[in-house]
Amino acid sequence: LFSVAGSLEKKRLEELRVGVVAGPSESEINAMTGLIPMTMGKLPAWAVQRVSRRHEKLIQAALFLCAALSVLTTAAIILVLLGNAVYAPGARNAFFEQVSLWDFLTGTHWKPVDGPAGRFGIIPLLSGTIMVAVIASLVSVPAGLGAAIYMSEYAAPREREFLKPVLEILAGIPSVVYGFFALKFITPWILKPALGFLGLELGTFNALSAGIVVGIMVTPLIASLSEDVIRSVPRSLREAAYALGSTRFDVSVRVVVPAALSGILAAFLLAFSRAIGETMAVVIAGGQQPIATLNPLRGAQTMTSFMVHASTGDSAADSISRMSIYAIGIALFAITLTINLISGWILRRYREVYQ
């Protein structure tokens, strides 16, 4: 194998010699290519390796299986959720065999107990989830976008190198830690005094503190995704705006952000769906009361915190409160998937293309 490449090189050098009078001689060429001429014998044993075509194909097939595993995972998720909610194999009763879809979607009471007392309306859980996610967005959208603009438009490279790890650390702190922070610090030390000053009553478990920490958690996501799209806005756009007498505010808000708007919107949506799926912080700080309310000062149960609550309870595996996990799981999966798909669609559809 070596000698083939070598002989090509040799040929080129020989051609060179034809053109140039004082080109390298035959022996010099051999020295330069550093190879034994083809005719002199076989390649040394180490250089010869039989490669079986089948072996190669086998490896590729194995790698393909690895990649296909992700499709299998999605299929399994859908199958498991639908399987146990719509039609359960074996002796178990599927959730929607016992509760009608209409009652599930429109009911305003959530009381997952067996027997006639059970009420299965998703509205209370949905309102809790959306409340937490909206509070989280109110925190994270201005903070994340502001941080993205600051890091891409204002910060010096050194400052940016210092700030970026800070955001990465904030993103890497586990959810339980934020839950603890909300329950034991934000609620008693910040929100209670502040709201007490305004004369408002705040529960120990409340959606407000949960929403705030979830907002803190998703801020780095918005910041880094938005910063990426903002940085991809070409420099010429900024320079043109400065040349027309714009201030930095004008450049950031009227030129750069509109140019990157699709990416920023996609980042917001992604963060919103992350906030909806956020579990441990909400479980710890948000409380476990499924009430259809939009009052963030009270405890609220989200879809995720219900799932944790139901699975830590001591109800039997085939009880309806267990089976309701699958129904809520479908709702959660469908909502987050829809938002993610919309986010991806916005990114593709409205991307500004620059040369």
Partner: protein, 367 residues
């Protein structure tokens, strides 16, 4: 933190009125200082710009402030309990005695097996998608699917793990309860020995966590593979290497620092994951380390326990922290905070390994 940006509208209307005004005095007054001069419109605009810059700076630095406050609050709360015996004790109902040893070992085993499952599959998928796959329908489906899997809440994987992995483990456990007899080829019968397999064992937890982090591992490995210059592949192929030889001997070694950094970072995410494990029914209260191994020395001295550990029940650090946080007894606050300190120290040390790898790799490789 939640201040909105100053709206852009108020100043929009002004220029039409202000501009002719500013144009006239220019001829009369030769010196126009934009900062201190009488030009109100420009001064307002500059002011707005400066206020906006400060708001953005405030938003960015509030992240730093929150991080500092968070760490300070946790360390302050942990002062009552954090001591060496917190790391050597297992859980207890008494806040004075409760320690994190069982969670530490549980997390160790979980991460060991999660890494063992997710690294080959994750890197393999990335290699397939980046190096081998042609752009056909199937590959596009896989890519779209991966992007969507990354956005699935981790608790949903917990449901999957509970239904699929835990049920399978329960079936296997039932098979090995010491009562089942199976016939081998109709020739003789074998009574299956009794094995201590639990349905909520470490392997079930690790498989579930593998599914949680797999999209991240794949994305990180893809990123690393993409940063290997094409010339390396072309050179290797031109020398007659096959595609797999090129991948195995050139591309993967060149991408290894990037891959290992990404893999370490995404595996460290799994350490903090509690939701899927709780869905599996991992024990919130246990004082037992998997396999009964309580010190690193026992890993070497008692090999029989090693075999048992993966099939044992477990708890993990974030689960214990969750359990302590929701205890009504206020003294458990310090216990939970101490647990968080240990968890963060573990995370920090793992991440610093990744940083070191990245640092040395970026010094060595130059292209």
């Amino acid at each position: 933190m939640s201040e909105p940006h100053p709206p852009a509208e108020p100043k929009v209307a002004e220029p039409k009125v202000a501009e002719p005004k500013t144009a006239e005095p220019k001829t009369a007054r030769p010196k126009v200082s934009f900062i201190s001069g009488g030009d109100r419109y420009i001064r307002n605009r500059l002011m707005l710009s400066r206020v906006f810059a400060w708001l953005c700076r405030f938003a960015t630095y509030s992240a730093l402030a929150i991080l500092v406050v968070l760490l300070a609050a946790i360390i302050y709360s942990s002062l009552g309990r954090l001591s060496p015996d917190f790391v050597t004790n297992t859980n207890s109902t008494s806040p004075i005695k409760a320690g994190i040893l069982a969670g530490l070992w549980g997390s160790f085993w979980l991460i060991l097996f999660t890494a063992m499952f997710s690294v080959p599959v994750g890197v393999g998928s990335a290699v397939y998608l980046e190096e081998i796959a042609k752009d056909n329908m199937l590959v596009r489906i896989i890519k779209v699917n991966l992007a969507n899997l990354a956005g699935v809440p981790s608790i949903v994987y917990g449901i999957l793990g509970y239904t699929v992995f835990r049920t399978s483990a329960a079936a296997i456990a039932e098979l090995f309860d010491g009562k089942h007899v199976i016939g081998v080829l109709g020739l003789f019968k074998v009574r299956l020995s009794k094995l201590p397999i639990y349905e909520d064992n470490i392997l079930v937890g690790a498989l579930t966590l593998t599914l949680v982090i797999l999209p991240t591992v794949i994305a990180a490995s893809q990123e690393a593979l993409r940063s290997v210059p094409g010339s390396i592949r072309v050179a290797s192929l031109a020398l007659g290497a096959t595609r797999w030889q090129t991948i195995w001997r050139q591309v993967i070694p060149a991408a290894l620092p990037g891959i290992s950094t990404g893999v370490i970072l995404s595996t460290s995410r799994a350490i903090g994951e509690a939701a899927p494990l709780i869905m599996l029914g991992a024990l919130t209260y246990t004082s037992m380390c998997p396999g009964g191994i309580e010190s690193p020395l026992e890993l070497l001295t008692r090999p029989s326990k090693l075999m048992q550990a993966p099939l044992d029940q477990f708890t993990a650090m974030p689960i214990e922290i969750y359990d302590w946080s929701k205890q009504p007894d206020a003294r458990f606050t310090a216990v939970a905070a101490s647990g968080i300190v240990v968890l963060l120290v573990v995370l920090l040390s793992i991440n610093s390994v990744a940083m070191i790898v990245r640092h040395f790799a970026s010094r060595r490789l130059k292209w």
